[in-house]
């Protein structure tokens, strides 16, 4: 992973001017799609993620139904134009794996036992990507689920930490991810402190790992506030204004 000759930290600042424990600027909008049951647009730095949720609706094919719970499906998809070299459309191994861990990140908070035999389908489109797309997707999807009115225990928030030039830092951008020493995306249920996604590649000592995890859990709380505020704003508006 490591590459010589690329300095990612200069005078205690990262290349984009951020401190070690600083998130990129975020933007969030709830209910941006008309046809989906719930939706959310989430930006962090140059990442643009759009999530649409359908359901609970009938599960097809029927043999995939679960007699006791709703089945949550998640499809992570990168737009071909979202990266420097055009990405071939359609699922690849990376997106299959990301879809799986993202689904597992959200499943614990959804009250699937309320809707046996149904499907709750989550579709996440990455319109622009700059490292941290799976975490951006989870942040968007989590809010879209709430927007769809699906009963949940809490909202899930997600962020990555990593190691660049020997320092543990928050929320890697693409340059840092490509030339850094480690990347560790995680997702958390903020209210309970439960971690529902954790992946890691690169190399970290046990101590660096523990520091990274702390950094990420704190950042998740920050993201959580943003998600919560966005939902409250959307729904206080629609009640007050008498509009749908």
């Amino acid at each position: 992973m490591k590459e010589e000759g690329i300095e990612l930290i200069k005078d205690g600042k990262r290349l984009d001017g951020r401190g070690f424990e600083e998130l990129r600027p975020m933007k969030i909008e709830v209910g941006v799609l008309k046809r989906a049951d719930g939706s959310c647009y989430f930006e962090i730095g140059n990442n643009k993620a759009l999530a649409a949720v359908y359901g609970p609706r009938e599960m097809h094919p029927r043999h995939l139904q679960n007699a006791k719970t709703a089945v949550v499906t998640y499809r992570y998809n990168m737009a071909p134009f979202s990266v420097d070299d055009r990405k071939r459309p359609g699922p690849d191994r990376r997106s299959v794996e990301i879809s799986k861990v993202s689904r597992d990140a959200l499943d614990p908070v959804i009250l699937t036992e309320y809707y046996p035999k149904t499907a709750i389908d989550i579709y996440v489109e990455l319109l622009q990507s700059d490292a941290g797309t799976r975490t951006a997707g989870i942040n968007a999807a989590s809010v879209a689920l709430a927007d769809a009115g699906i009963p949940m225990r809490d909202i899930v928030s997600s962020v990555a930490v990593g190691k660049i030039d020997g320092e543990v830092v928050l929320d890697l951008n693409a340059a840092e991810d490509n030339h850094g020493e480690a990347d560790m995306p995680m997702a958390m249920v903020t209210r309970t402190g439960t971690i529902t996604m954790l992946q890691m590649d690169g190399r970290l000592t046990k101590d660096e790992f523990e520091r990274g995890l702390k950094l990420a859990t704190n950042a998740c709380r920050e993201i959580y506030e943003l998600q919560r505020t966005a939902l409250i704003e959307k729904y206080s508006e629609s009640v007050g204004g008498g509009e749908e």
């Binding site: 992973m1 402190g193 529902t196 992946q199 690169g202 190399r203 970290l204 790992f209």
Partner: protein, 260 residues
Amino acid sequence: MGIEVMEDIRKDYVYDLIERGKRVDGRGFRDYREISVERDIIIKAEGSALVRLGDTSVLVGVKLSMGEPFSDTPNKGVLMTNAELRPGASPDFETGPPNENSVELARVVDRGIRGSETIDLEKMCIEEGEKVWMTFIDIHALDNDGNLMDAAALGAIASLLNTRIPNERYGLTGEDTLSIRDTPVAVTMVKIGENILVDPNLHEENAATSRLTVISNADGTVSGMQKSGKEGLKEEEIVEMVGIGIEKAGEIREKYLGDK
């Protein structure tokens, strides 16, 4: 329906036992099943290993061929890891393209090796921008009685340690042994109730609410992690599991990868 009911009864049984401090096969919570590693059993492969974890068995083969480097890394060899969950290994496995479980298996094993820079990919460059060695790690599940992940990861590093570069076949001369710089070992744990168990067998895997794989290296650093399953884990549980993972990896490394 019958099968589902049986599954539930079995889950309850596993769970109840564990709540009383016991495992279905009588092991302690931190114990692995019996491990065996047989290397070089496929002579057509440049490296191979058959790993058994109790009744789970995984065959890993490493093949090397010559190819073109990726344009963004013209001076580096290529590493590809693939996993096949063959139908013969379990009635739950089906033919057809890789599903999310086999993709996950391959990618996590790959990350452990890549993250620790186990293979010096720069040494695998033959002619910059033109010719490099492509290393293919193929994971073949033969029998699934749980924890394919650790068996596959152990099979991968055991195979790599014995992999020979087929210079002669391509009319080249040079060092035939693959330069291996580290020995990443995966340790998978599950949580059942409030208990953490190492090396889950199939019944435990099915009864578990969450699973964490920790891949660590000879110097105790971590080079890969993957959490899966329908429930979350607490921060302190994860920290504990990473500690256990590093410790168990050390034991496995010493016992099965020591004679490099």
